[in-house]
């Protein structure tokens, strides 16, 4: 069944469908997000999707925008199948998509102008066009005075306007907005919709598709589809929906549209008056509460007094200081100025007794997602030190009261928002607190669950006389409070009963009254909240974007590079860690990895005690490698000292040593080497053998009857490239490749995964940028950074470590360029498997350190490796680069001699980039 879009019973004029869903289903793992949805969305008008969080609104929007891959069914938008890559290429640039979350597609460290500029470049506008458009868009949205402000420091409303500017830069035919006003103050919300209205007036053909949780807003749209549990309940003009359900408000209409099961038990909320208003002692009292973070005043001189059992509401937009105030009340944040008192006592974070009288429900219902419902309840009961015997009963009571009994063994993340909210409340109530502090407990929850929640709250207040301090940005919820405070920009604008606030301003609704206060505050503060007449400026209809879509566009690629470089520049922590980190590690490893085995301790057990035996011992002690320790007394002493690791070598000279030598009888000298560290043991063995041979020669030469030459032949050993046999000369050129693998790979992997985690990856999904452009664009700044890194490391090697660069610097630099190309590409490749930043960091470290350190000839030559290690050593780029680094540093080589190493490096760059491109997804799945 397709819910007819056109006409509707009222016969409103509506355009042909701009998008059509036919039997579309979508699953995330086992969860069904959309269940065989069929829907025609009319074009050329304001179409809306209504419903709470998690019903499938965002899924529908992202499918139509092409940001998410179609799993089942058929999605048509702008006259083509969105499952076809060819159509997406053509239609993509005509669609603008603003994902959910304030400024999710923006880059918080970039300024307003830079953000818009980035999107302009992505869509291929030249400099003049970009400048013109930035001016026009920021002018019409009132962002013009803030061109240089970082997006992250804008208020919620301004972020959404900026996001809109970025979406509008390419004159879309279809504008898709996913909850654009959630959490934004009412004034900004009104301005936002006025702005959209103005744009539509300027571009009448444009279709707008909006998802929203605010029913008041939706009432003004041309067409609505109500959604619930992955299905469409009904669709049509708002008036038609009201008439069909016989309701007065959309909220009621929505509840009546819900299936019987979901509606079951729903009753409207009624708030009985408080019994003994005004007589109680204050449960909460705040006097001149102020909180400053650096130069920013988050909360400014807030005062209120809440008597016991009252429901007190805090109303305001995101970031107005509600949460900060609540944190000060709970003692989570010490107030900069002023005083907060709970139950007549000053808030003291160390006072465990007060904590037991307060229940706190933080924003987003922060529960332990890894614990089941029951485990969450039990943990909190135990931490509040309920007697163990009482806990099972109390958990059962809470589960019954908040209807959680059926889901006690489920994990919170698997639950719908409404149930999670009830669990959160149950957790906050488990220890029977006298006061509840609830921070936006109802955001995103469906109306039925919200009403149920409010009934619990009212019952707690009126029956159990629990004081309720609640913050919200829903006006109808504010109306249910005994008293409310309107909060904006850290200040309380007014504090009274909702009815009196409305009446005082002579406004029709509370929202009107709030907007009135906001405008007054803005005018007083001279803030730019008062915009030029919103609809005054029609949006730019400049030259349309380049019609043909190029397969590879340098401009798009560079726009990503430029942006990445800017972000890196603004995030000094990452950049300095990358540069300073490599220098620190170079110092540590250069000085620390010392292959020179020196100062070996040895001792002698001399049972002969003759001149000859002492001469033998002296011979050892005279070597620069050995340090003689006190003589060994007996075998027990030898054993004890070797076990303690005090001796690397113990020598036993038998009694009769001198006598037997003189008589030409065979003699055996015993030597024990500490084999606990095999590499050292080998070296010791070599040294001892050498010294022993030498002693024999000297002895033989001294012997009577021989004429000098003792040996038959000589082996002349020449240590090449490193005549001093210094570890540093050998190690430093090998450490540089290790560092240039590890750090660039991690940084690059992070840069991609960061976008996945923060949400701006959506710009890859919905803009014309190709996968290769995206990857190369992100890679370039990190290659540049790695080259700077390389120069610093070489400088350090030559100056501080005194390792001469004897060969061709250009050859080394060229190989480095290829090599860091490969190491950054490894980062890109790894990023395609990783979803979280932490996984990217560790995954990359694990996957690069072992092959770089152990299998690439840094310590042991590749040819000496066996098994898998040997195989890795033959393909891993570090192995080839180590050859070049050693060749240029120590062996005085240049391009000609090192040529064989260049080709594998170049091939690895191409292969790695190719793989990364293949594995990167252009749509979310």
């Amino acid at each position: 069944m397709s819910l007819a879009a056109a006409g509707g019973p009222m016969g409103e004029p509506m355009g042909a469908p701009v998008a059509r869903l036919e039997g579309v289903s979508l699953r995330y793992g086992r969860r069904i997000a959309l269940d065989a949805v069929s829907l025609d969305i009319p074009g050329g008008c304001m179409a809306g999707l209504i419903g709470p969080d998690g019903v499938g609104k965002s899924s529908v929007l992202s499918l139509i925008a092409g940001a998410r891959a179609v799993q089942a069914g058929r999605v048509t938008a702008l006259g083509g199948d969105m499952a076809a890559a060819r159509h997406r290429e053509v239609a993509g640039p005509r669609i603008a998509y603003m994902p959910q979350g304030l400024g999710r597609n923006l880059y918080p460290t970039l300024s307003v102008a830079e953000n818009i500029d980035f999107f302009g470049r992505l869509f291929g506008h030249d400099r003049a066009a970009r400048r013109r458009r930035i001016a026009l868009l920021t002018e019409s949205t009132g962002l013009a005075p803030f061109l240089d402000r970082p997006a992250g420091k804008l208020s919620g409303g301004m972020k959404q306007k900026l996001s809109l500017c970025c979406s509008l830069i390419h004159d879309p035919d279809l504008l898709i907005l996913d909850e654009p006003t959630t959490g934004v103050d009412p004034l900004s919300r009104r301005q936002f919709w006025d702005l959209i209205g103005g744009i539509r007036a300027g571009r009448p053909g444009m279709s707008v598709l909006v998802a929203t949780a605010y029913m008041e807003e939706a009432a003004g749209f041309d067409w609505l589809a109500a959604m619930h549990a992955g299905r469409v309940l009904d669709a049509g003009a708002p008036r038609a929906l009201l008439e069909r359900t016989g309701s007065e408000s959309l909220e009621t209409a929505f509840i009546r549209l819900l299936p019987e099961a979901a509606r079951a038990g729903h009753q409207p909320v009624t708030v009985p008056p408080r019994r003994d208003a005004g007589e109680d002692a204050a449960a909460i009292e705040a006097r001149g509460l102020t909180m400053r973070f650096g130069g920013f005043t988050a909360v400014d001189q807030v005062s209120f007094r809440i008597p016991r059992g009252e429901i007190f509401g805090f109303l305001g937009s995101n970031g107005c200081g509600k949460t900060t105030t609540m944190k000060m009340l709970t003692g989570l944040l010490p107030a900069t100025e002023g005083e907060a008192r709970l139950f007549g006592e000053a808030v003291d974070p160390r006072n465990m007794e007060t904590r037991r009288r307060v229940g706190y429900m933080s924003q987003n219902f922060s529960l332990y997602a890894e614990l089941t419902v029951r485990q969450n309840l039990e943990l909190h009961a135990r931490l509040f030190r309920l007697p163990p015997a009482e806990i099972p009963g109390r958990v059962r009571d809470m589960a019954e009261r908040f209807e959680l009994s059926a889901i006690l063994d489920a994990l919170p993340d698997a639950l719908p928002l409404g149930q999670r909210q009830r669990l959160s409340l149950a957790v906050a109530m488990i220890h029977r607190p006298e006061m509840l502090i609830l921070d936006e407990p109802t955001s995103g929850v469906d109306p039925v669950a919200r009403d149920a929640f409010w009934r619990s709250i009212v019952a707690l207040s009126r029956e159990d006389r629990v004081t309720i301090f609640i913050s919200t940005h829903f006006m109808n919820e504010a109306q249910r409070c005994d008293r409310i405070s309107l909060m904006h920009a850290g200040r309380v604008l007014v504090s009274d009963t909702p009815e009196r606030i409305r009446a005082d301003r002579g406004a029709a609704t509370l929202e009107e009254a709030f907007i009135g206060y906001l405008e007054e505050a803005a005018a007083k503060g001279g803030a730019p909240a008062a915009l030029p007449g919103p609809a005054a400026v029609p949006p730019p209809t400049g030259p349309a974007m380049p019609a043909r879509h190029r397969r590879f566009d340098l401009r798009r690629l560079l726009s990503y590079s430029r942006r990445e470089a800017l972000e890196l520049q603004r995030d000094p922590v990452r950049a300095t860690l990358a540069l300073l980190g490599s220098i620190l590690l170079m110092l540590v490893m250069g000085y620390g990895i010392n292959m020179d085995v020196e100062n070996l301790s040895f001792a002698v057990l001399d049972r002969d005690q003759t001149v000859t035996s002492q001469n033998y011992a002296l011979h050892l002690a005279g070597s620069p490698y050995f340090r003689e320790r006190a003589p060994i007394l007996d075998y027990a002493d030898l054993d004890r000292r070797m076990r303690a690791g005090q001796l690397s070598l113990a020598v036993e000279i038998p009694s009769g040593f001198a006598r037997d030598i003189a008589r030409g009888r065979p003699v055996q000298v015993g030597a024990w080497i500490d084999g606990a560290m095999p590499a050292r043991g080998e070296t010791v063995r070599g040294y001892v053998q050498g010294i022993h041979q030498h002693w024999l020669q000297v002895k033989a030469a001294e012997a009577p009857g021989r004429n000098g030459t003792a040996s038959l032949a000589t082996v002349e050993t020449r240590f090449r490239y490193n005549p001093g046999i210094r570890s540093l000369v050998a190690m430093v050129p090998a450490i540089i490749p290790m560092l240039l693998m590890l750090i660039p790979a991690i940084l690059t992997a992070l840069s991609v995964v960061r976008e996945k985690e923060l949400g701006s990856i959506v710009n890859l999904y919905v803009s014309p940028v190709t996968r290769l452009e995206f990857l190369l664009g992100k890679q370039i700044p990190y290659v540049a950074l790695a080259m700077v890194n390389f120069l610093l490391l070489v400088l350090l090697a030559v100056t501080l470590f005194g390792v001469p660069l004897t060969g061709s610097f250009p050859a080394l630099a060229a190989a480095t360029f290829l090599y860091v190309g490969a190491s950054t590409a490894i980062g890109l490749l790894i990023s395609s498997f990783m979803r979280s930043q932490i996984a990217a960091v560790f995954g990359t470290a694990i996957l690069t350190i072992l092959p770089a350190m152990q299998f690439s000839g840094v310590i042991d030559p590749v040819s000496s490796l066996e098994g898998a290690g040997a195989l890795i050593g033959q393909v891993f780029p570090t192995a080839f680069y180590v050859t070049v680094a050693r060749g240029t540093f120590s062996k005085a080589l240049g391009f000609a001699e090192l040529q064989p190493a260049f080709l594998p490096l170049a091939i690895s760059v191409v292969v790695l980039l190719g793989l990364s491109t293949l594995l990167l997804r252009k749509q979310e799945r």
Binding site: G581, G690, A730, V841, L865
Partner: protein, 378 residues
Amino acid sequence: MRLPATLANALHLGVKELRSLLRDPIMLVLIGHAFTLAIYTGAAAMPSAVNRATIAIVDEDRSPLSARIAAAFYPPTFLPPVMITQAQMDARMDAGLDTFALDIPPNFQRDLLAGRNPAIQLNVDATRMTQAFSGSGYVQTMVMQEVQAFAQRYRGGEVPPVDLVLRARFNPQLEKSWFGAIIQLINNITMLSIVLTGAALIREREHGTIEHLLVMPVTPFEIMIGKIWAMGLVVFAAATASLFLVVQGLLAVPVGGSVPLFLAGAALHLLATTSLGIVLGTVTRSMPQFGLLLILILLPLMMLSGGMTPFESMPAGVQWVMQLAPTTHFVALAQAILYRGAGLPVVWPQFAALLAIAAALFAFALLRFRRMIGETAG
């Protein structure tokens, strides 16, 4: 009265950490990998110092003696020698193809038999430190043995009057894999304990659950202890299993001393490293920063602790600084106990140092953690 409550809270919070970890498949895989495959491959791939060394021979003599010398080099110590000309020698060494090049001059055999003490030239690529040192000694000894044996047949001569009998204690064959397995185990204990604790703290901060804890009657001390004992226990259990099953079982590394004593040392070490994890979790704002900082801390801890190269050969300054690192003492005591079979009378100084470091790190972590909680801003 106060103590039981603290203990109870720490216990509940720790159980919560364990349950969280149990539902984190990536971390579980990481732990599993680190204590099985990583140790096995790390140990198995470790060649002994001179293993499969590349050698080239320039034979200008072409006599029975030179052929005999060439035949003396064979796997596994050396790869079969490559016979080259003098002209090729430099280029091959430049390209890193050969670590050793032996140049046997013309008329070598004749000169030898004539007692003219001829010289063989041995070229060593000294940029390959591990093989250059002991390898050149090897080559020298082998050449001389061949020469001696050859000369004896033709000239007759005396046996060297003094014989040197060399024995390596604790590891008679100087098997590097024995060493590698234990070092890998130690490195992974260090790495995982820091990662798990730091990540547990940052995860809690990112999910906002830490605030949730702080409004309850729970002190920062209890929260921190909860994380430390839980994560320490996980690593401890995994390391113990790995020691028995992988190191002693699969790799058949003989353990000389008391395993319980080693485990006691490991527990102390874990107290230090988990505290370090907390410190890192408090000084970094986000996971990526934590990751980068971790690498900066972890690599020196692993490379300079005496696990990779002999501690006594490091510069004095580095040795001094590394005395402050828990790994230095842990590596020392692990080697003493596991290889040399040392007991507490021998390794008590390491235990004392480890205890002092762990206590200091713990105190510092608590200080940092308390301060971080004071700063927890929205």
